[in-house]
């Protein structure tokens, strides 16, 4: 381990056979990132209290470096009553005592940077916890100076028609406050009052929060629930121009004072609507591509590339400095908001037959159980994730094929402790098992005795070893992170084939989405005389000639080829 006192250097070094990774556009680091998403609570417990903490996480950074990821996205770790897993923040500028101290965070950050791993934190800008001092003051009286920091009304009929997001738990976007005897606006849980961004003092306070963490050294923020910052009568109260204006101002201040820091938007919308959050390259650097994710699952189940092609064809171009974030699974349910009713019904029937697997408009399951523990399908989906345009996000535990527990309530079933080994508490904590913040996964298929990091480290053919290999390959070629994409559309619809291009670098990706062997003929006339070189085994394939290029693929098999003209 290197000396943590060494000043952090996160300039990427060129891979041996890589296209050149230059530092001149280092500010665009997020485009080349592979992000690993985790909750501090879930990862490693250093003090045997049953809850993961920053010291525990710091001790596992070598593992993450070994995996090959180069950015971490941490879920909220701030003081909070934890009624929404930390998205109900009660203090924006310190660390929840269960996870350690602010100094622990600073030590972790330095250690991560030392390993050239960037750190992205959550900035829950839309709302606070009702326990936050701001809200406590605001509700204390109608005359309080902070009263106008939240959105109040004497009736619950204002902004009628605005959709309710948590349809399983909330009946209205208004909640009654018995203290100040008026209603307050909340787009999420009723204990999460929305901040009033029409108030300049709120905007300034949130900027101070950002500055606090940027000064410490975080590399970017994921801004939670950004479409909902502003409310206006007669609108959906989503994606309003005033919201964009606020974002632009935050971005301008960041660019001026903290160049190289990144803003990531959480806007669960159609691509054509999300595009506005990139602005002219002057709002967010990145945004999640929500509609793509369910369609990757759909395509594999349907054995048909149509859903993926269709959504990507409808995805507009984004400014040069911007990037989509793509993912398979995360800490939330697999959201099915950005699908049609027909598609949602299909996804439920195929991936969530048991009603306990469903929550809100989505599916609360992890990747491996959704794939019925079929290694080939897990690899295929991961291969898609890592080869499509965008910055991929890997959810903790998916690299070893962790399972879930759909009976834990809310989305806690996909937030169980990381499984490090087959020993005491899966190596997650030395506490008594009863003290753990969550039960471990313990069934014979996905339990920690069967699925854990240590056992997979010992096998060159484990899922973990494969993940390292495929991440290493992706990291070695910038064409994956920055290249264009061109779909080939062979007549065999079960095969999804595309070429990624960046300058002279060309990579051909061919995926068999079906459970049976397939033959496919690819029109590669543009690449005549090129030699396909399989990227994992580095084997040469026959040179591309005049005829359609014939490939055969086993069930769920995929190829990545470099196309070289030698």
């Amino acid at each position: 381990m290197q000396d943590p006192a060494t000043p952090p250097s996160i300039v990427s070094k060129p891979h041996q056979e890589s296209s050149v990774l230059l530092s001149q556009d280092e500010n665009l680091w997020y485009k080349d990132a592979i992000i690993y998403q985790l909750h501090v609570r879930t990862f490693c417990d250093s003090n045997a209290d049953g809850i993961g903490d920053f010291r525990g996480l710091t001790s596992k950074l070598d593992y993450l470096q070994e995996l090959g990821i180069n950015a971490l996205w941490l879920l909220p770790f701030y003081p909070s009553p934890l009624r929404d897993d930390g998205y109900d923040i009660a203090d924006y500028t310190s660390v929840h005592p269960s996870y350690g101290s602010l100094q622990d965070f600073k030590d972790f950050l330095a250690a991560a940077h030392h390993r050239r791993i960037r750190v992205i934190t959550e900035m829950v800008v839309n709302h606070t916890s009702d326990q936050h001092p701001w809200f406590q003051e605001a509700r204390s009286s109608r005359e309080n100076p902070k009263r106008d920091w939240y959105v109040w009304s004497d009736t619950d009929t204002r902004y009628q028609g605005v959709r309710i997001i948590f349809i399983d738990t909330e009946m209205s976007n208004w909640a009654w406050d018995p203290i100040s005897k008026s209603y307050y606006w909340h787009r999420f849980f009723n204990h999460q009052p929305d901040l009033n961004y029409d108030n300049p003092a709120v905007r300034e306070a949130m900027w101070e929060v950002m500055k606090f963490w940027l000064d410490i050294g975080v590399d970017g923020f994921r801004l939670d629930a950004v479409p909902y910052l502003i409310e206006r009568d007669g609108t959906s109260c989503e994606n309003l121009p005033e919201t964009h204006e606020i974002i632009r101002k935050f971005r301008k201040r960041i660019d001026e004072a903290y160049p190289g820091k990144m803003l990531l938007a959480e806007a669960n919308q159609w691509p054509a609507d999300v595009i506005s959050y990139f602005g002219n390259g002057d709002e967010f650097h990145m945004a999640f591509h929500f509609p793509l994710m369910p369609r990757m699952f759909m395509a594999v189940k349907l054995e048909d590339r149509k859903p993926i092609i269709e959504i990507l064809e409808q995805t507009p171009q984004i400014p040069e400095t911007c990037q989509w974030c793509i993912f398979l699974r995360n800490h939330d349910e697999l959201t099915l908001e950005m699908v049609t009713d027909i598609e949602r019904d299909y996804m439920y029937d195929e991936y969530a037959v048991d009603k306990a697997m469903r929550i809100n408009l989505g599916i609360r399951r992890r990747l491996a159980p959704m794939m019925e523990n079929d290694r080939r399908r897990v690899e295929l989906l991961t291969g898609l994730l890592l080869s499509m345009p965008g910055t991929p996000i890997i959810y903790y535990g998916d690299e070893i094929g962790m399972g879930d527990n759909i009976y834990l309530g809310d989305r806690n079933g996909v937030r169980t402790p990381m499984q490090w080994n087959g020993g005491w508490n899966a190596g997650f904590s030395a506490a008594d098992p009863e003290r753990l913040y969550s039960p471990l996964i313990s069934n014979p298929v996905y339990g920690y005795q069967a699925i854990n990091v240590d056992s997979q480290r010992r096998s060159a053919h484990s899922l973990l070893s494969w993940m390292k290999s495929v991440i290493q390959t992706r990291n070695a070629f910038r064409v994956f992170s920055r290249g264009s994409i061109e779909f080939l559309n062979p007549s065999n619809h079960r095969v999804l084939a595309y070429v990624r291009k960046l300058g002279d670098e060309k990579v051909l990706i061919v995926n068999n989405l079906s459970s049976s062997a397939q033959a496919v003929e690819l029109n590669l006339q543009m690449y005549k005389r090129h030699i396909p070189i399989e990227m994992f085994g580095r084997n040469l394939f026959p040179r591309i000639g005049d005829l359609p290029y014939l490939l055969t693929l086993g069930p769920y098999q995929f190829y990545w080829f470099r196309l070289r003209r030698i």
Binding site: L302, D304, N492
Partner: protein, 423 residues
């Protein structure tokens, strides 16, 4: 020497790319550029609306069109437009096409379609004619669904008919099919029908595709193959069927050659099945089992009687070799009657047809000539029908049709007797 594969390599290549499907819709075409686009749109709409999860392919089998039929099929745009936000059917709806190097024939087209159904392992198929003016998206769904979801193997259409539409089917084909094969399927010679993948595979294996009867009108053969194989048949009410433009359909001689000739051939090849059966059974029917609208103008009877009378006279030696002497005598007698009081009795009509069928079996003369000799007699029956029903309502005509069917069933032992008699 083994027959060369009739599947073109390019067609096979397309099938390989499609893989396996749940549904296959076949569109046989020959110079249908003007209407194919609309048909295709209806088919795609039906698949998108009714079978969102199913794997589906649309197959155009062309008989060598000299217009732009094939280009229309391959290039007609998806009507949804590029700005549509999501996302439509879940799956790719494949379009595949082939062209056979024979003269246009429904049989050749069907052979390619059932071969595709077999290779693609389609569970249910439909044939849709681009010549039918008013195909709607519900037609496709209604023909496919009983085979896909209800376990039927053959699905005939039912149409709203005007009183004077489809007289050949009502006076001859339907009652005779019903009596001979014992199943009450009304429209055996329609241009649209549905069938199961299982029936497609069975038909593909039959060595009959070079037979004239199958080449010309394969649909009834397919139905009778299903009946003979003990498979389930049904019919689905589709609504009004647009009449083909005047002059585009076959004339009465050709129509009788194709349909009656086909039917007699089916009797010949399935005699083991029908000889021992009596009575008839209704089949699964979705919607009303018939509907005669009160509109429709009767064809002019002028000349029909003259053509009947001259035919009976001109074909006397031929009719003598086909018909029993008593039957022949009765026909000659009515041919001499006053046209205004003419009546072709039901009993005589049934006996005449059964004797024609038996003579076809015994090959008393060239079978094609034999079938053509029926044409003037059918004209006589048609003339009689028009005289009797000029002012009848749809219900009255339907009631009469049912009596005729019962007469065919009553006389079936006579058919069996003539059929099995030593020539």
């Amino acid at each position: 020497m083994a027959e060369e594969s009739f599947l073109a390599d390019e067609f096979l290549r397309q099938l390989m790319s499609v893989g396996e499907v749940d549904l296959l819709v076949g569109i046989p075409s020959y110079n249908n550029a003007a209407t194919l686009g609309q048909t295709l749109q209806s088919v795609e709409e039906s698949l998108r609306q009714n079978f969102v999860r199913e794997r589906a392919a649309i197959l155009n089998v062309d008989g060598g069109s000299t217009d732009d039929t094939r280009q229309v099929f391959e290039q007609s745009a998806d009507p949804r437009g590029a700005s549509h936000k999501g996302l439509t059917s879940l799956r790719t709806i494949h379009r595949i096409s082939c062209q056979y190097d024979k003269s246009p024939s429904q049989g050749w087209a069907l052979r390619n379609i059932v071969a595709a159904a077999d290779l693609l392992r389609a569970r249910a198929c439909a044939i849709i004619s681009p010549a039918t003016a008013n195909v709607t998206s519900s037609w496709v769904a209604n023909l496919v669904r009983p085979a896909y979801r209800e376990g039927l193997d053959f699905v005939a259409p039912l149409y709203v008919r005007s009183r004077f539409q489809g007289l050949l089917a009502r006076d001859l084909l339907y009652p005779m099919t019903r009596a001979v094969f014992g199943q009450r399927i009304r429209e055996l010679y329609a241009d649209e029908w549905g069938f199961s993948g299982r029936l497609a595979s069975q038909c593909l294996e039959k060595d009959v595709w070079h037979e004239e009867a199958v080449r010309a009108r394969p649909q009834a053969w397919m139905a009778i193959t299903a009946i003979g194989g003990g498979l389930k048949c049904g019919q689905y009410f589709l609504g009004p069927k647009g009449a083909a433009p005047a002059g585009t359909g076959p004339d009465i001689v050709e129509a009788i050659r194709q349909t009656v000739g086909n039917f007699f051939w089916c009797m010949e090849t399935n005699q083991a099945y029908w000889l021992s059966r009596s009575n008839s059974q209704p089949v699964s029917t979705f919607g009303p089992d018939h509907e005669l609208s009160s509109d429709g103008i009767p064809p002019s009877p002028e000349k029909i009687f003259e053509l009947f009378r001259s035919g009976v006279n001109g074909l006397e030696p031929i009719l003598a070799s086909i018909l029993a002497p008593d039957t022949h005598a009765q026909i000659k007698a009515i041919a001499l009657s006053d046209p205004t009081k003419f009546h072709f009795a039901m009993e005589l009509w049934v006996k005449t047809l059964y004797e024609f069928a038996a003579s076809y079996h015994h090959m008393v003369l060239n079978r094609d000539h034999l079938v053509q000799a029926l044409v003037p007699l059918y004209r006589g029956k048609l003339y009689s029908f028009l005289l009797e029903h000029a002012n009848s309502s749809g219900e009255e005509m339907e009631a009469q049709s049912e009596i005729l069917c019962q007469e065919f069933e009553r006389q079936k032992p006579y058919l069996v007797e003539r059929w099995t008699a030593k020539s």
